[in-house]
């Protein structure tokens, strides 16, 4: 697996199963992974009040933070906010993962500065796209954000294949949720359940 550049990803998820899976996905995608179980641990690792910027405590620069949304203690959203509020860390792209496609939640995260919102279970194609996106270091942010907020779900299979020349496609189209019953609200969320299912083309 020869890689031109290796990204170091900090993965944050309270689920053992999900941590193991995301770690494998990232390894296959030529990324170094540090996996932690909570927002608190993530901030500890990043040394929030340390002098070095975007370095982990082991001195490895973090290129991307991939965090679950629903976690006990500190949610992914709260972690995102703390990172964006920190002058040392705010430049690190943060991607939120969730098993629920709740549009107001997605909006909030994107507004707070999340680069992307991935639907769980996360797939290899999602991670590869993410990696390529971070490596390119570009992205027409405004247009993409608008697309996501309007819920334009481009579910076409070919987007989920390796197409590195594409601009960052929305991952809202990973519609694993279509077949399952409408998601009930998470107890940690105080917003009403999003029962409306966006029609996928």
């Amino acid at each position: 697996m020869a890689c031109a550049q290796e990204l170091h990803v900090l993965a944050v998820d309270d689920s053992h199963v999900d941590r193991k899976v995301i770690e494998r996905l990232l390894n296959i995608s030529c990324c170094k992974v540090t996996a932690v179980e909570s927002g608190r641990r993530a901030l500890q690792y990043l040394g929030l009040d340390g002098e070095k910027s975007s370095m982990g405590i082991d001195g490895l620069k973090v290129h991307l933070i991939l965090t679950d949304y629903s976690m006990p203690g500190m949610t992914g959203y709260e972690l995102l906010k703390k990172i964006k509020e920190s002058s040392a860390l705010s430049k690190i792209p943060v991607v939120i993962m969730s098993s629920e496609k709740i549009l107001p939640r997605i909006d909030r995260c994107l507004e707070e500065g999340a680069k992307e919102f991935l639907l769980k279970p996360v797939k290899l194609s999602d991670v590869k796209r993410l990696r390529d996106f971070i490596l390119r270091g570009e992205g027409d942010d405004d247009k993409e954000t608008e697309k996501k907020i309007n819920g334009v779900c481009l579910r076409k299979r070919k987007f989920q294949d390796d197409s590195t020349t594409q601009p960052m496609p929305t991952s809202l189209g990973t519609a694993h949720d279509i077949e399952s019953s409408p998601e009930s609200s998470v107890s940690s969320e105080s917003q009403p359940p999003q029962s409306k299912q966006t029609k996928i083309g």
């Binding site: 309270d14 193991k20 629903s70 797939k123 009930s184 609200s185």
Partner: protein, 137 residues
């Protein structure tokens, strides 16, 4: 001998998918295996068993006596559902969703009955997967 086992494993996998015990997520996980990580799926599933045992135990305790904290029950089941979804445990996941609906409706009897369903589906899947992994090895 080995080919026959592989055929049996493939047949069982097909069967588990067709009967809805597993969904495509399980296949995605298998695609992540390689010579260096030949038992990845089994390792993930073992973590699932450990987590599930904990979730089941905690939910069981929470269902024992009132007053019932539906928000907490919902949250615990949400986590269990997440794990199930991550390994492609389709039927278990659906039972979890049903349980959550009863939580939302604050219907404790519904919760208790559905929880039996959750445990049953989990136990069934566990047995089938154990057989499957034996074939795979």
């Amino acid at each position: 001998m080995k080919n026959q086992k592989q055929r049996q494993a493939a047949y069982m996998r097909r069967s588990l998918l067709d009967q809805g015990y597993l969904d495509e997520q399980f296949i995605h996980l298998e695609e992540l295996q390689d010579d260096a990580n030949p038992n990845f799926v089994e390792e993930v599933v073992k973590l699932f068993y450990t987590d599930s045992a904990r979730f089941i135990r905690n939910i069981e305790l929470a269902l024992e006596n009132g007053p019932y904290d539906f928000a907490r029950l919902d949250n615990m089941m949400y986590q269990f559902k997440g794990s199930s979804s991550s390994i492609g445990a389709r039927r278990v996941k659906r039972q979890c969703s049903q349980f959550q609906e009863y939580c939302n409706a604050k219907n404790i009897e519904g919760c208790k009955n559905t929880f039996q369903g959750v445990k049953q589906e989990y136990a069934t899947l566990k047995t089938k997967l154990e057989t499957y992994f034996q074939m795979e090895r």
